[in-house]
Amino acid sequence: MLEMSNISKVFRTEVVETHALRDFTLTVDQGEFVTITGPSGCGKTTFLNIAGLLENYTSGTYLLDGQDVSNLSDFQRAKLRNEKIGFIFQSFNLMPDLNLFDNIDVPLRYRGMKAGERKERIEHALESVGLASRRKHLPAQLSGGQQQRVAIARALVGQPLFLLADEPTGNLDSNTAMGVMELLQEINAGGTTIIMVTHDQELAETSKRNIHILDGQISNLPSVSQTASINPPAVSATV
């Protein structure tokens, strides 16, 4: 479903070259829940941005659902993002002027879906995160945990192939964070692939597969979850 081979990302300025990712190879199969860990600046977010087609890579190959994404136009990349990827962000990134219904509506609008179908999907998404009764509320009227649930509903409403979550619990207290993690696990159990970046080793250990990144490369050191994993990763990550 997601195949990255020897992906490198170099940020260049006039005086310095920074290698955010080096020969990064990773395959994620349908239905997996993969956590990505590593220290600040190791390349976690760069990986997520490349995986989410928000950023180009310098070299390597990236196949998304079997399609090489290296030479896609802006229009094609946007279409792929809309149809196959759901994003969940640390700071939720809900639009403050739009109520919950309209926030979740955004990706469906860009898909050009008809109003009736959009409404049905949004209501179902809101129900699935337990916020159906608050569809007319603005994000500011919700707690952090509730806002992240709305963001998850927005990510799910387009029925994507996989979710990319960037520190989804980073702005939440531990209890709320656990609630969000439980929700993500439920979603994964329903068959949706999830790739989650986190600093939190404890949370990483709750996933079936943990990838540790160091200096833009996948670390050889196995994480706790990898050694304890009942289901080993379908394809191992290599440097």
């Binding site: 941005n49 962000f89 860009y110």
Partner: protein, 435 residues
């Protein structure tokens, strides 16, 4: 999506009310000031008879002073006007000039009053599409026989007959009875193209009579009279045989062939007159259609051109401010733009969304600018004396109002192109992490 984007624009306004209001004000001031000047130009320089302005020609004969290199006279001498009339070579043609008169109402309760009238040929009315409220123009026979017939303006008819149909009634004008054959409806071409020499923004005349009556009865001439050569002798006949110009002469020619034929005719006429010792300058006769005549006569004063430039510069300054404000507003939305990109928006749809937002602000600016323009025009009306022009004509009308709003919308969208382009080309990844 248009309605969706409009709704987002309204929400965006609400999110940044101060910045958005500043933009609307900048657009309103720029567009409003420009529209004040535009309206003045529109009123003063528009085509007063667009559907046939290229078929109506002012006849210019160069009977000027051979010792000066000035332009040909703007009007014709009596000798030339009558010669052209007698030749009868145009599809329609009219000599015309102002006359002064006094009307003595039959109603003893009304006091006699002065009027400014116009002597014209019967063709004058169909040539210039003069609208009639009652009756019709006199006929060509009345021109030749100089019948005492009169066409009244609506105001004069109101004054004399209380607005009733006065056709067939008789009035006393300059001591003689005139029979009313028609009453014209409101008619105020702007500019008053058929007689720009006597004030392109003057109001219309109070009464119209066959033009040949004016010289025949030696009616007073309140319009311009210019003589480059001393009148040879005394009295009315000497004046009529002089080189003094005081008659406007217009012809209606249906196509270019007729125009060429007519110009050839007047040139031949001038050559004949040269043989008689007149037309002493090199041949320089012209036919000017309505628009050409407005330009030739510089109907739009220089001040309006300077005002136009100033208003254009003010508008440019306001739009430059708008660019800065839009840049600030749209770059401030980088986070939202990044999120929308992550959710599936392509750059084109983001561009359109923000163009509509700029257009929305422009529309609000245009509406406010319309109000500003209305206030500005009231000020102009207050400042301009009614001698200069009929100030009631200076007002916003539907086409001007629509043009104002369209101008504001388009100008704001153009001003927004760079800010929108910048905003749509930010790296979404940066803003998604930090928003």
């Amino acid at each position: 999506m248009l309605l969706y984007y409009l709704r987002l624009s309204a929400l965006s306004y609400r999110r940044n009310p101060i910045l958005s209001t500043l933009m609307v004000l900048a657009v309103a001031i720029g567009v409003g000031s420009y529209m004040v000047v535009f309206t003045l130009n529109y009123v003063m320089g528009g085509d007063p008879i667009p559907y046939k302005s290229d078929q109506l020609y002012h006849v210019s004969l160069d009977t000027g002073d051979p010792n000066h290199e000035d332009d040909p006279p703007e009007q014709l001498t009596y000798l030339d006007a009558t010669a052209l009339l007698d030749a009868d070579r145009a599809f329609r043609e009219t000599a015309s000039s102002k006359f002064g008169g006094t009307i003595e109402p039959a109603n003893p309760e009304l006091r006699p009053f002065s009027i400014v009238g116009r002597g014209a040929m019967a063709d004058f009315f169909p040539m210039f599409d003069v609208p009639f409220l009652f009756g019709s123009p006199w006929d060509a026979q009345a021109d030749e026989s100089m019948d005492n017939v009169v066409v009244l303006s609506r105001e004069t008819n109101d004054r004399l007959f209380g607005g009733d149909n006065s056709v067939g009634e008789s009035i006393i004008m300059n001591g003689e009875p005139y029979q009313v054959v028609g009453v014209i409806n409101d008619w105020q071409p702007v500019p008053k193209y058929y007689d720009v020499n006597n004030g392109p923004f003057d109001s219309g005349e109070d009464a119209y009579i066959p033009w040949r009556i004016l010289p025949a009865k030696n009616y007073s001439r309140p319009g311009n009279t210019n003589c480059w050569k001393a009148i040879d002798g005394r009295g009315a006949d000497a004046f009529l045989n002089s080189e003094c110009v005081w008659i406007q002469y217009w012809v209606e020619l249906r196509d270019q062939n007729e125009a060429e034929d007519y110009l050839s005719f007047v040139n031949n006429y001038a050559l004949q007159q040269k043989e008689l010792g007149r037309f002493e300058r090199p041949l320089n006769n012209n036919l000017f259609d309505v628009q050409e005549w407005m330009v030739e006569q510089e109907v739009l004063p220089d001040e309006t051109r300077i005002l136009s430039m100033l208003a254009g510069m003010l508008m440019a300054v306001c739009l430059l401010n708008t660019i800065g404000l839009l840049l600030s507003k749209f770059l401030g939305k980088s986070g939202e733009i990044g999120v929308r990109q992550a959710l599936g928006a392509n750059k084109r749809s983001l561009f359109i969304q923000h163009m509509i937002e700029a257009g929305f602000l422009g529309m609000l600016g245009g509406l406010l600018g319309l109000g500003a323009a209305a206030v500005g025009l009231r000020g102009i009306k207050y400042l301009l004396s009614s001698d200069f022009m009929v100030t009631d004509l200076i007002q916003l009308n539907v086409p001007v109002a629509m043009y104002t709003i369209a101008l504001a919308v388009i100008a704001t969208i153009v001003a927004g192109l760079y800010p929108i382009w910048r905003a749509c080309n930010v790296n979404p990844a940066i803003h998604l992490k930090t928003q």
